[in-house]
């Protein structure tokens, strides 16, 4: 999951130092992600994992690190499996 998230970040978000220099818990905003970048990232994640982030999840925090994105995606994928 995190490998796939990282490759999507690399494709969609411009980070001066690149995503490979970051740990899973590094703050993407501090690494230079803009709010426009976070929108691009969201759209790409929704497309790749065939999910739609609900309103309650959509805040600055969700897209702040690989770890928090991964947790949110796991939750959505689990919900889909149950539903």
């Amino acid at each position: 999951m995190t490998t796939e998230i990282r490759s999507i970040i690399a494709r969609t978000v411009e980070l001066p130092a690149g995503v490979d220099s970051l740990t899973d818990t590094s703050d993407l905003y501090e690494a230079g992600m803009t709010s426009f970048g976070s929108v691009q990232l969201m759209l790409a994640l929704e497309e790749a994992f065939d999910v739609e982030f609900p309103e309650r999840m959509l805040n600055r925090k969700l897209f702040s690190s690989v770890t928090s994105i991964s947790a949110a995606l796991n939750e959505l994928v689990a919900e889909r499996a149950e539903g």
Partner: protein, 397 residues
């Protein structure tokens, strides 16, 4: 005006309003000269100090009056009706104070500075814009550079409004030389710590008294004067709402001031010919309804902020930013329209600068509203956010 109810109930708000009306009377006397000479509204600034209105947002425990956003917007409206430039100086100062009050509480130096602001009635200026960032305040070229227990800063600031008349400047910069351009901090630079070399002048159509010259700003300050909280959070949680709401309050005041002149003109015409409806009377009625809708818009924005105020998650949400952006864009456009209607109602007597019904200054001043942060830029940001945010389709909340 906006009739905000004070945090102490209506009586507190009345007192604040009365104090600001005293300032507005002083500002009105000098307004034409301030505009003509494009000079700082010194008389109004002195009166603001005298009425002790510069420190009112500071919490009581630090010597202020703990006033909220609603009352500040109302006070901006009162002053703006008399002198838009003085109103804008007051609004900008309070936007900076909002950042200090909301985000400085966790740091000893900033708490002490808050106390000094209230005690000595310090006037705060702002330095966000910079050559090479294309007007996006969430990016900086310059950075603070650590220098022992101090930091240094060199900033090519395209605009620092009333820098030479302020007691301190709050400036944005990158957190460190190697930080990303959006990884910013906010720091306080006191006037004595700042070296300012003027690089451009402010000879504009309106809002001439804000004296928004460009400067090369150089400073060396103790590291403690840098806010601990990242500027990204300060921008989202206090600056966005305070700037859009205080400006909108001010624009409401300018529009109300112009429309009051139109009403006086129509009344005078009606007295001369009581049996004939004066030309412009129905246009005045339509513009008055526009003014009422502008008032509702600004007040709803204030209520929206008050609901979100204690919830950082809500303040950081895109839905909240979209709402504040909408208030700014709508208020600026409506206010321009109302002042234009006021001019049509009054006619030539309003177009002339030397009549009691002159609204030329109001019109020139209000034309800055859609440009100070360009509405097109704001709408572009909103359009991006609407890709990942629910449309607010409820009448409640």
């Amino acid at each position: 005006m906006l009739d905000a109810i004070g945090s102490d109930g209506a009586q507190g708000a009345t007192t604040l309003a009365a104090r600001m009306k005293a300032v507005a009377a002083v500002a009105a006397e000098a307004a034409d000269q301030v505009d003509r000479d494009a000079r700082f509204p010194r008389e109004a600034a002195d009166a603001l100090r005298q009425q002790r209105l510069l420190g009112i947002m500071v919490p009581r425990e630090h010597g202020g009056e703990g006033v909220g956003f609603g009352e500040i917007a109302e006070l901006c409206a009162i002053l703006g009706a008399s002198c838009a430039a003085a109103g804008m100086v007051f609004a900008m100062h309070q936007i900076k104070t909002a950042s200090l009050v909301h985000h400085g509480g966790a740091s000893v130096w900033h708490r002490d500075f808050m106390t000094r602001l209230a005690r000595d009635q310090l006037l705060l200026a702002s330095s966000t814009s910079e050559a090479g960032i294309g007007g996006d305040l969430r990016n900086s070229v310059c950075s603070v550079v650590p220098d022992g227990d101090h930091v240094t800063l060199e900033k090519d600031a395209i605009v620092i409004s009333y820098a030479l008349d302020a007691d301190a400047i709050l400036a944005t910069a990158r957190r460190a030389p190697e930080a990303a351009s959006s990884d910013q901090v906010l720091l306080v630079i006191e006037r004595a710590q700042a070296d300012l070399v003027q690089t451009s002048t402010w000879d504009t159509l309106g809002m001439r008294g804000t004296t928004s010259h460009g400067f090369k700003l150089t400073a060396r300050v103790p590291a403690a004067q840098v806010f601990p909280k990242p500027f990204a959070e300060i921008a989202a949680q206090s600056m966005l709402a305070s700037s859009h709401l205080f400006w909108s309050g001010l624009w409401f005041g300018i529009a109300a001031g112009a429309l009051s002149k139109a009403q006086a003109f129509v009344r005078a015409a009606a007295r001369k010919a009581p049996t004939v409806a004066p030309p412009g009377a129905t246009r005045l009625a339509a513009a008055a309804a526009e003014l009422a809708s502008l008032k509702a818009l600004v007040r709803d924005g204030i209520a929206r902020f008050e609901r979100a105020r204690r919830h950082d998650d809500e303040l950081n949400s895109m839905a909240f930013a979209i709402a504040m952006n909408a208030v700014k864009v709508q208020a600026s456009e409506k206010a321009v329209g109302i002042v234009q209607q006021a001019l049509i109602v009054v006619g030539i007597q309003g177009y002339k600068n030397d009549t009691p019904f002159a609204v030329g200054r109001h019109l020139r001043d209000i034309l800055s509203a859609p440009l100070m942060i360009a509405n097109d830029r704001i709408m572009a940001n909103t359009s991006t956010m609407l890709l990942m945010s629910r449309l607010d389709a409820d009448l409640e909340g």
